[in-house]
């Protein structure tokens, strides 16, 4: 009997295996939830992994306070649907408590501050594993990261001292206070994620689809106007037809001009695209090692 799997089914089987290893090897894991497409796919895979039981982990949203309204509405509807417990780590609270200092100026972003809130939440809830939706194709420092990625007691990643990862034997052993980041989508590409969303008919926040929005052009990016963005002198507010390829913090996530109104359009657009999805993110443009530096500190 021949049961041939396509590439998405094989990736799915690997990710489900990884999620079940998380349930087996850790006492108190959590799924990091951003509302973006990758974390939605992780949640869908977790439902599949444990069906007909519920997902045995809570969800944690690190909220910068700079969200697009659509993201939060979508998040709350999904949490109700999945029946999971949602925890929110607030960057605003970290700032109010004096744990984090807000960047100043019109290009200020809370992206880097998320690390502080994330590590605080992990410590407060005593999580020993945080599951994220990061992929190796996103960025070259990520391309070197393990699926089971060790973090020391300070939440830091040591890229030069990673545990070798062989076959599908994952080593989640750690001491008290240390934790793991686990990335079930490590081997997926942006296109795989979109194809999977189409195959599984997953619902997505409306930000991913083409819509009209007021935008300003800044540093080669299109930023969607929200109350958190200060329009600089000389910048012109334009009404454009755009969509977002990632939905991060509104202050540093760039939109793209696009007429892609459904998933099939998006798959075509991504397949033909000549720029990576992180090409629209100001947080990565700060330096060649921007991602590695943030990851060493404990970023997602």
């Amino acid at each position: 009997m021949q049961t041939r799997m396509n590439h998405l089914e094989e990736l799915e089987a690997e990710s489900i295996f990884v999620l079940r290893e998380v349930a087996a090897q850790f006492e108190n894991p959590v799924i990091l939830f951003s509302g973006g497409k990758d974390s939605l796919v992780v949640i869908h895979l977790a439902r599949k992994a444990f069906h007909p039981a519920k997902i045995p982990f809570p969800l944690l949203h690190i909220d910068t306070g700079h969200n697009f309204a659509e993201t939060l509405e979508f998040r709350d509807a999904l949490v109700r649907d999945v029946g999971a417990r949602l925890l929110v780590g607030s960057v605003q609270a970290s700032i109010d408590e004096g744990r984090a200092a807000e960047e100043q100026g019109p290009s200020a972003s809370r992206n880097a501050l998320q690390t502080i809130t994330l590590l605080d939440a992990i410590a407060a809830h005593k999580f020993d594993c945080a599951v994220g939706g990061a992929r190796r194709d996103e960025e070259k420092a990520r391309a070197k990261e393990r699926i089971f990625s060790f973090r020391d007691a300070f939440g830091q990643w040591d890229p030069k001292n990673q545990r070798p990862e062989l076959w599908n034997l994952f080593n989640g052993r750690k001491r008290h206070g240390e934790h793991f980041r686990v990335f079930p989508l490590s081997n997926w590409t942006e296109l795989d994620v979109w194809q999977y969303i189409a195959m599984e008919k997953l619902a997505l926040p409306s930000l991913y689809f083409s819509h009209e929005r007021e935008c300003v052009r800044r540093d080669g990016m299109l930023l969607g106007l929200t109350p958190h963005i200060q329009v600089k002198k000389g910048e012109k507010v334009e009404r454009l037809v755009v969509r977002f390829r990632t939905v991060g913090d509104a202050t540093c996530t760039g939109a793209v001009l696009s007429r892609a109104a459904n998933i099939d359009d998006i798959i075509q657009e991504v397949a033909a695209s000549r720029v990576t999805e992180r090409g629209g993110r100001a947080d990565d443009k700060r330096s060649e090692a921007a991602m590695e530096e943030r990851k060493v500190q404990g970023y997602f």
Binding site: M1, Q2, T3, R4, M5, N6, H7, L8, E9, E10, L11, A13, I16, F17, R20, A23, A24, R47, K48, A49, F50, H51, P52, A53, K54, R136, E139, K140, A141, R142, A143, K144, P159, K160, Q162, P164, E165, L166, W167, N168, L169, N171, R173, R175, N187, T189, L191, Q195, A198, M199, I267, Q268, A271, A272, V275, T276, G279, E288, A289, E292
Partner: protein
């Protein structure tokens, strides 16, 4: 017309990806044999390098005072790697064509070579080994081939590169091919191919070479796209390591009890008689479940949930098999061990051991010999096993494992050793069938 042009002109089929397969391969080569150029070409010609990556690459190459695009910078993701100009760790690269999606485990050729290649090879269906047409079979090539055969990679493709520098000579290519055959006859490799290429000029990588009309085989990309890989998994010996027990205890599924796991061998269907290890009790498969529906059969590498007709006491680390085809069960293992840690193997040491979904403790009983991976010579009684060494060892495990030889099944025949103090992964083991 070039391949890329043809693809670009083909109308886009938004459903075609549902028929794509996945192929994982590893690349090995010595210093300066053009490995980065080859990977760069595969990525570039399949349109998997993007403009912003290319711009970043141009900026970085210029900053380093290099005229040409340094494609190695694309895979050297860590700052230390870029600063020292060396690749430290396995990098994963992804590209796809309309036929297949590819995962490349790109293994650096300098430091910690064996450790990296063993890691990259452990999940690969195929290895590309690069050979410089001018120098032919060198020590490093033998080493790469040995590791690929040790890790039982089903397909090995030797790319004889830099054919442009030997005047596209058929004679040079055939000489290298013959040298390899002599060497690889001693190794267990199922499928070996040879392709004459020029990664720099692009000959026989994606597009067929016009300068080597004597070569009648496929181009590298065509081979990667069409090679038959469905038989790479063991579909004969039924093995289902139980990963997680699913008991919803909800009103809707009050009595549901399912065993989640990834099929490691054979085919499981509803009604099949199966045997549970370690109890030795048998029962039948009541159903193969996947997300609310029953699937007709499960085979590797599917992740499913099995329901059984009888309530047995089954937990993680147990294994479901067929009564007439059982794995070996035992506490004494013969293992080919690749050492991954800077701290040497303790020849009487105790380690944690992970095998399928089972964790146990083990003690090293004997180091029988160390393999010189350049000559394949066995150094009997050499017990100093350091990083990158490969040795045949005997382990005593505190509880029985259900295993097959690695040669028969890469899932049920592999294990890792974990240091009890640091918890780092220090050894990769391949179980050898015990000699009678």
């Amino acid at each position: 017309m070039t391949r890329a042009k043809k693809e670009a002109e083909r109308p886009f089929d938004s459903q075609a990806y549902l028929g794509m397969e996945l192929l994982r391969f590893t690349t090995a080569g010595s210093v300066d044999d053009g490995k980065s150029t080859l990977i760069g070409r595969l990525l570039y010609d399949s349109k998997s390098i993007f403009e912003d990556q290319l711009e970043a690459l141009e900026r970085a190459s210029r900053r380093r005072g290099e005229d040409d695009l340094n494609l190695a910078l694309l895979t050297d993701g860590l700052r230390a790697e870029r600063e020292q100009g060396i690749t430290i760790d396995v990098a994963h690269r992804y590209f796809s064509t309309p036929r297949r999606k590819f995962i490349i485990a790109d293994c650096p050729g300098h430091i910690q070579y064996t450790r990296n290649m063993v890691t990259g090879a452990s999940t690969s269906n195929l290895a590309i080994i690069l050979v410089d047409a001018r120098t032919g079979v060198v020590e490093q090539t033998r080493r790469h081939t040995f590791i690929a055969s040790l890790l039982q990679i089903p397909h090995i493709v030797f790319c004889v590169n830099k054919m442009d520098l030997v005047d596209w000579s058929q004679q040079a290519f055939e000489k290298i091919q013959q040298d390899f055959r002599d060497f690889s006859a001693k190794l267990e490799v199922k499928d070996i191919r040879f392709i004459p290429i020029s990664a720099l000029k692009g000959d026989n990588v994606v597009d067929r070479s016009k300068r080597m009309d004597w070569y009648e085989g496929p181009t590298l990309l065509y081979l990667l796209e069409t090679l038959y890989i469905a038989s790479d998994h063991n579909r004969v010996d039924c093995r289902f390591p139980v990963q997680h027990v699913i008991r919803p205890r909800s009103d809707a599924h009050h009595d549901y009890r399912g065993y989640a796991g990834r099929v490691a061998g054979g085919v499981f269907k509803k009604g099949d008689e199966i045997l549970h290890l370690p109890s030795g009790l048998s029962t039948r498969v009541a159903g193969v479940d996947f997300f609310g529906r029953e699937v007709p059969a499960a085979s590797p590498p599917m992740s499913v949930v099995l329901r059984l007709e009888d309530d047995l006491d089954i937990s993680r680390g147990d294994m479901l098999v067929r009564p007439h085809n059982q794995p070996a069960v035992g506490q004494e293992l013969d293992v080919m061990l690749c050492w991954l840690s800077e701290r040497k193997l303790d020849p009487q040491g105790r380690y944690l051991l992970r095998h399928t979904t089972r964790e146990a403790r083990c003690q090293v009983k004997d180091v029988r010999y160390k393999v010189d991976i350049n000559t394949l010579h066995r150094a009997q009684g050499d017990t100093a096993i350091g990083m990158n060494d490969i040795a045949r060892v005997q382990l005593h495990v505190t509880q029985p494992l259900f295993y097959d030889s690695y040669q028969r099944n890469r899932s049920t025949g592999s294990l890792i050793l974990v240091d009890e103090g640091t918890f780092s992964t220090v050894g990769a083991g391949m179980i050898v069938q015990r000699e009678p």
